[in-house]
């Protein structure tokens, strides 16, 4: 076992926390959506590296190859990427509507306009 495993996962967690921090701390709604995407991608990395087999070929059946990487995380993450774009699209559409109704996409301004939000 090499020490690589731990380093991989440490950086995944760093990326995940960078995305989470961006979502919590930035007041701009588009920055929040970018943070959500960064968070999401770090989960994708985690799944794909669970399925990785050292020296394994990609999951396309080839003559003479016996060791393949695990295809199941790949299928899950393919679906997750597409669903992630769908949620991003809805979030951006909401941002556009908020801009039209309130004239701002800054959370601080929205709070001042309507404290109930």
């Amino acid at each position: 076992m090499s020490g690589l495993g731990i380093w991989n996962y440490v950086i995944f967690i760093f990326l995940m926390m960078a995305g989470l921090y961006m979502m919590i701390s930035s007041s701009n709604l588009i920055k929040k959506i970018i943070g959500l995407n960064v968070f999401q991608t770090s989960v994708f990395f985690m799944y794909i590296s669970f399925g990785y087999v050292e020296g394994g070929a990609g999951p396309v059946l080839t003559e003479g190859v016996t060791l393949y990487t695990n295809p199941l995380p790949h299928v899950l993450i393919l679906t997750a990427i597409v669903v992630g774009v769908a949620t991003t699209a809805v979030g951006l559409a909401l941002t556009i509507r908020i801009k039209e109704s309130f004239g701002s996409i800054e959370e601080d301004d929205l709070h001042k306009m309507d404290p109930s939000i």
Partner: protein
């Protein structure tokens, strides 16, 4: 194999640097562009981890469509993030530190990276690797699982995208009708 590991670590460190840059940048157009670089780098990382289908999808959908949607939104909402002079926010940092520390504690129990005898590799996956060519006659296992074994799940995914499409149309489509109605009333 050492080379693949080096590329893997290089790309991961690069991604970490990009995420810090994303945190610090105030100009939204630059942030979206840098997020495009982030997506493309993650597609390269998927390629290094032997996940070609995921890399294609991330490059096309993540780095392509997402960025176009974000740029279209910026064209409407404006590209400047409001710069607020305020004291350093402590609460988000505390929350993020606690969550990160908990997760770091959790990864100690994960199986080592890339070992063929990991639990994830020995249970269900071998059955698909051995049987999918016989049962579906498709050489790409990802395709055969996605379209054949889990066809209904993919149908569910299409329903999710359809719902998102309806949501976007309802949110933005109404605006266009209102705008044209307003213009029509102005002309009268």
């Amino acid at each position: 194999m050492m080379l693949a590991h080096l590329i893997d670590i290089f790309l991961l460190v690069f991604l970490a640097v990009i995420s810090v840059a994303l945190l610090r940048i105030k100009d939204l157009l630059t942030a979206v562009m840098i997020f495009g670089i982030y997506s493309l780098t993650s597609a390269s990382l998927f390629m290094v981890l032997a996940a070609a289908d995921v890399a294609f999808t991330e490059a096309a959908v993540g780095a392509g469509i997402s960025i176009i949607l974000m740029l279209a939104t910026l064209a409407i909402t404006g590209r400047e993030e409001k710069i607020v002079e305020r004291k350093f926010k402590l609460l988000p940092l505390i929350i993020v530190s606690i969550t990160g520390a908990t997760l770091l504690y959790g990864i100690r129990d994960l199986p080592p990276f890339g070992v063929a005898s990991n639990p994830a590799q020995v249970h269900v996956a071998p059955r698909y690797i051995e049987q999918s060519a016989v049962e579906t006659d498709i050489p790409n296992i990802v395709t055969s699982v996605l379209a054949s074994y889990r066809g209904f799940d993919t149908l569910g995914e299409v329903v999710v995208i359809f719902t998102a499409g309806i949501g976007v149309a309802l949110l933005i489509g109404r605006r266009r009708r209102l705008l044209t109605a307003k213009e029509a009333s102005r002309h009268e």
